[in-house]
């Protein structure tokens, strides 16, 4: 293991975050606060409780997940796309590092950032609504697992993208809709039967449901299913990254 390299890349990436602290941390916190104002206070006033949990508190896990997903993807995709774009990737490709080390460093940095962000958002949320975390261990596990999985997914997008449009396409066209339709702001029990079944094909549902369970013991699907689905997605991403590095896909000509 080239630990010096992992450390160098990790610190370099984290340093980039501090440099761009506004985009990295502050803007997601502001947008989450806006969600609270709009969904929690304005609309939430009309939906008093879901299974005994006040609506404002009910949406917290979904909101954290929304930020965690989008930030993991954008952090990681940008982290690897940027050196490709500027050409500094030459150094990474010519260095004595394995693809595993590159992935650990980049994905680790992106995941760290979004976990820090998730915690900040959670703390912000606690200012607005009373929070209760029934299964803190599972909560942390979900936080980390989701951050890692979607940072890896973002890393794949960053390698695949050959222009800034593509870099934004997936988060914008796929991830945000999936999150909104994945039960972040409602329980799927509130949907008509047909849409409930459709929603079961949305992978984000399993994340939000599992995460919410760790807070309130409430879930749309079983917690084991949630963990299992996340793990499956993680493994799929690992195989894609492996293939990309083996073939040099969009990294080497």
């Amino acid at each position: 293991m080239n630990l010096h390299a992992i450390r160098a890349i990790y610190l370099f990436e984290m340093h980039r975050t501090w440099r761009t602290i506004m985009q990295s941390i502050i803007s997601p916190v502001i947008s989450t606060s806006l969600y609270f104002v709009v969904f929690g206070s304005a609309i939430g006033g009309r939906i008093p409780e879901i299974s005994g949990v006040p609506y404002g508190a009910f949406i917290v896990p979904g909101l954290v997940m929304l930020s965690l997903l989008t930030q993991s993807i954008s952090n990681a995709s940008f982290g690897i796309y940027f050196p490709k774009f500027t050409g500094t990737i030459y150094e990474l490709l010519s260095a004595p590092v394995s693809y595993l080390e590159i992935v650990i460093a980049y994905v680790g940095a992106a995941a760290s950032k979004s976990i820090i962000l998730g915690v900040i958002i959670l703390a912000t949320a606690a200012l607005f609504v009373p929070l209760r975390i029934e299964h803190p261990f599972i909560m942390v596990l979900f936080l980390v697992l989701t951050a890692v999985t979607f940072s890896l997914f973002g890393f794949i997008i960053g390698i695949w993208a050959d222009g800034f449009e593509k870099l934004q396409l997936v988060p914008l066209m796929i991830v945000t809709p999936l999150t909104f339709l994945g039960g972040s702001f409602y329980s799927i029990d509130m949907l008509p039967p047909f849409w409930r079944v459709v929603t079961l094909f949305n992978p984000v549902l399993y994340l939000v449901s599992g995460f919410r369970w760790s807070f309130y013991g409430l879930s749309d699907v079983h917690i084991g299913t949630s963990l299992g689905m996340t793990a499956v997605f993680l493994v799929v991403c690992i195989f894609i990254v492996r293939w990309m590095f083996k073939t040099g896909y969009r990294l080497k000509s």
Binding site: H4, A5, A8, I9, F12, R19, S94, P96
Partner: protein
């Protein structure tokens, strides 16, 4: 003893179908300065990029100090430093950070003393806390050299290190290169300034259209291909060369005041003695006499011309 770099039967066809390298066989010796020359698009950068792991070879094998660059990439790459042709740097990072990063990336523990030494050698020390975006092009080039040297490579590739660099900096750069060679580093460089290759290199390789056309000791190359010229400053200006001197293939400079005789210095009879006698007979006196060895540039231009 194995070579510093050993390339055998290397082919590279880009995704577009373009054959950039055709059966390259090349051995670079330990501790030498090897200059790779060739016109634009010849494949110099492709060859270097393939050796350094940035471009996938289509077929063939490459060893760096005996290590296969694909199967033992870690051992091979640890030895190699690369300064690419394109100026690509992390614009918003400081010089110090970006150079320290390179050292870590190549698996070496942080060593501020070494980084300080390199930055000082490359006259970058007073810029160490500046963001790279604020530096001039020549300084950015030096930052890239500093990055490559940060991890103490045994084999250093310099792809046109002096493109867009002023005279003074170029001289500094060559001093650094010479010092590296003294310390045992093998150096492979490309340049379009042939006088640089002529001054610096131990051996010269010429690549044209993806093929190695020639690899030769520089001195040998200059000797075997080098034509010499004898230039005579005439006492009076002449309009034409007397018929009696036709067999020498002389040239008259446009001014009419200088006579040029080309000969091969390795022939037993260079013909100089006979020429001087015949000049006297023809009544052409001269004031001064010079001989000049043809430069690498002329050799190079001739070589590439022959092939096209």
């Amino acid at each position: 003893m194995s070579s510093a770099i050993s390339v055998s039967s290397l082919f590279k066809t880009y995704g577009s179908g373009f054959e950039a390298l055709k059966n390259i066989n090349l051995d670079i010796r330990h501790g030498e300065i090897f200059a790779l020359l060739g016109p634009n698009g010849a494949g110099k950068t492709t060859l270097i990029s393939t050796i350094c792991g940035i471009v996938n070879p289509t077929s063939g094998t490459i060893l760096a100090d005996g290590h296969d660059i694909q199967k033992e990439y870690r051992a091979a790459r640890t030895k190699i430093g690369l300064v690419p042709q394109e100026l690509t740097t992390d614009a918003f990072e400081t010089v110090w950070n970006t150079v320290s990063f390179s050292r870590g990336l190549f698996g070496k523990p942080f060593n501020p003393a070494h980084i300080e030494k390199i930055l000082k050698e490359l006259s970058l020390w007073d810029k160490k806390d500046n963001k790279i975006i604020t530096l001039s092009g020549g300084m950015k080039r030096r930052v890239m050299i500093a990055k490559a040297l940060s991890h103490e490579p045994e084999i250093l590739f310099l792809d046109e290190p002096t493109a867009g660099v002023d005279v003074e900096l170029r001289r500094d750069m060559w001093n650094v290169v010479r010092a590296l060679r003294e310390s045992g580093v093998t150096i492979i460089l490309t340049t379009h300034y042939i006088e640089e290759a002529e001054q610096m290199a131990d051996r010269i390789g010429v690549i044209s259209k993806g093929e190695i056309v020639l690899v030769e000791e520089k001195s040998e190359l200059m000797r075997s291909l080098g034509k010499k010229q004898l230039r005579l400053q005439l006492q009076e200006e002449h309009k034409s060369i007397p018929a009696a001197l036709a067999k020498y293939g002389l040239e008259l400079a446009p001014s009419g005041g200088e006579l040029i005789y080309s000969y091969d210095a390795h022939e037993e009879k260079t013909g100089i003695a006979a020429l001087l006698k015949d000049l006297e007979k023809a009544g052409m006196g001269f004031n001064d006499i010079q001989t000049k060895q043809s430069s690498l540039e002329e050799i190079f231009v001739n070589l590439v011309k022959e092939r096209t």
